[in-house]
Amino acid sequence: MSATELDASHNHSHGHDDHGHDHDHPAWLAHHFDDAEQQFDSGKLGIWLFLITEVLFFSGMFCAYAMYRSLHPEIWTFSSQFLNETLGAINTGVLLFSSLTMAWAVRCAMLGQNRGVVACTGMTIACAAIFLGVKAVEYSHKIDLGLLPAGFYVPQVAHPEHHEGLSKWLIYFMIVPGLLLVVLTAWYGQAVATANAVQKQIAGPLSVSALCFFLGVGLGLYLESGEAAEHGDKAHAAAADSHDAAHAEGDHAHEEAHASDAAHEPKDAATPAATESASTDSHADASHAADNEIISPDVNKPNAAGLFFSIYYCMTGVHAIHIIAGILVLTWVLVKAAQGQFHSEYFGPVDYVGLYWHLVDFIWIYLFPLLYLIT
């Protein structure tokens, strides 16, 4: 087509400038797309590219993890004992279940079953809330014990003070969800009072989700206290041993750690200064000494175990931020579904949010074994 022809036809149609919104262009199709397929493909490609950027975003931390773990494996074996595997496993299960409900939501959207989308995204948000509740218990427990990033790390002692009542950090973590619970429940009450069906569909699942945060907190607290006798004490026993050992000039712990390998390093065991320099050797022995979990006291320090917790907080923290972002976009989908917007030609947003949610789960699937399951 020539320039002049274009001009001519252009001048022609200037009476109505909304030719992007002409009659065969439904409201759900953006003005610059030709058809539903083009719009869907664009969105799909866009979200996949975004997921790639997310993977690369996390990759920086995975690199840091790989680098420091390979340099100091003994730090990882020592510090990982302080993470509660049961809580991690429960959160893994919760997220896996949420992926199922998410996939189900996408299917419902494809079939145009908006009520199904509401139910499924509601369940997904509830799972996310449980996850965050459990995470809040984990974080607050660690903060109380001084299991903090390198600069704030407090070396662990044999018998940590047991906190009575709720940790103040847990209370801080509960402020926002608590407010949300109150507001959402009130909003739901209003919806019931005014018989507003759409508002009910939105406020109902959201208030249940806010409640689920506290369910997660309760679950976390229950398991944390049950574990404390068994797992936590084991970890602290290890810490205690290393701690005591440090006070007892390191001889006892060191000999025990090296007992199985004594033949290799008789000189080390004999010299009193060896404990200080043993960190490189001891990780070679760590696997042997794994049963009794006694590790060089060198590790129980800000510049050692603290580094692990730095990486732990960075990775799980950024992941938790992604969970929160996921809750926000899932809420957006929920609202759209409650308004009945999805049908077989327009279900892109559910699909895209679903992909994002699966990625967030997927990253946790890596984080769990990499951080919690180290022996």
């Binding site: 020539s2 400038d17 610059h32 664009s42 866009g46 920086g60």
Partner: protein, 566 residues
Amino acid sequence: MSAVVTPGSVQTAEHSQSHRPDPNYLTHTKGFLSWALTLDHKRIGLMYLVGILTSFLLGGILALLLRAELFFPGEQMFSNDGYNQLFTLHGAVMVFLFIIPSVPAALGNFLVPVMLGAKDVAFPRLNLSSFYLWLAGTAFFLVALFSTGLDTGWTFYTPYSTLTQGPVVAATMGVFILGFSSIFTGLNFIVTINTMRPPGMTWFRMPLFLWATYATSIIQVLATPVLGITVLLLAAERVLKIGIFDPAYNGDPVAFQHFFWFYSHPAVYIMILPAMGIISELMSVHSHKAIFGYRMIAYSSVAIALFGFLVWGHHMFTSGMAEVTTIIFSALTFTVSIPSAIKVFNWLFTMYQGTVSMVTPMCYALAFLFLFTIGGLTGLFLGSLSTDRHLHDTYFVVAHFHYVMMGGTLIAFLGGLFHWWPKMIGKMYNELGGQISALVVFIGFNLTFLPQFVMGSRGMPRRYAQYDKEFEFLHQLSTVGAFVLGMGLFIAAGVLLSSLFRGRKAPANPWGGDTLEWHCESPPPFYNFLRPPVVKDPYDYSRLVYDNRVGGYVERPEDRASGSHK
């Protein structure tokens, strides 16, 4: 709905002025909000243009202050600390606020959909939010600027950046936000180019500017997130004391350099690739001859994007790396020169036997050829291990990357700006003024940076406010050159600005280009094209003739009559 202005909601405003002959994207709605909330890629591109040119002015003034300080060896206007802050802000403003968004965000936003014959980019809202992210990032930088004290260099190397008192967290948050602006722009372009090409535009019928933009976007999407996490970790290092870059906590400061350059080296190609795309267009259009080696130029763009990810280690030859690693990085560095050289030779052969019109954009394109070649070849000295040991952190490095970033990207950006200015604004500028600006910029640029190669090879270290007496003459040459360069840029600005008021109306096709943007009016109407235009070889000029009445190129009458299909 949201407060965003959609085409439908401006309809009422439209009717009131429908008697006007030719509303275009600049005039079809009025008022501040119609710009601030626009989803039109052309307006967003123009807003970016204003933003980045303002940043460039700021960065340029900082540069002139630096050069003025260096006119004499001793301390002049600034203390050593003040000088550190100046060069940090100069670098950070130029890199993050100007060069990286310059071509993709400003020219790219305007051109990509028009060149595709599309109405808009794939995600117009995301596009607008990119712009506001850019503004937010800029605000963080301005905080760092006015709280004075960011003195880490634009690279934020640890451990200094974790110890210094300056507003590092504000600046890193600025970088983080700007990174997302850049990611979203890249993502948008990839999707747009993939899904919104009109019928008939196969990958190998795309204008080369789009190939270059596509390659750039790939880098933006793949590399920028790593910068995001790096600066986030740096901020966490300062706020939460995570210590992973701090030797006191068993962390490794060189790890920061690896993380940083894993982004920032590909970022160099974010800067230069779109510039190469511009030059491909300029060379072909102003030589009135089909581009030589279309496919090789297209492939070489992608090759540069991919190789660009494998060479970051060459910034750390002297920071402590395994010897074998340095050798591998050095070898990979050399491979990047191959696709770059392919492009340069293809541009030369495009001019060969062409009808070269020495209009302003072409003057800049020729300047680019010289400057980029010098910049590229001096990179080889820095990429080889033995010479880099001597030249590392000297003025040689400074001169090298200014030749690439400024002599390459900035010059190409100016060329592109002069080339598409009539399309964007609808006004022709003073041709002679434009040519003079190109000449002055070229002379000033070489006068500024050629002496720096000499200084660097004689051992003048970078980032020093004071220097030995023996370098005085070369430094003075460089400073004089910088002011000549500044003058050239002011002439260019004057030429463009005066065209707003005095320029004659631009024809649809002033240069004789045949990519799709020359098929719509200057400036384009709101929706660019009414129906998808017919696509053919973008570099076939045989159907165009100059028409004196229009002052631009039109299709030959016989072609027009025969329906213009090819």
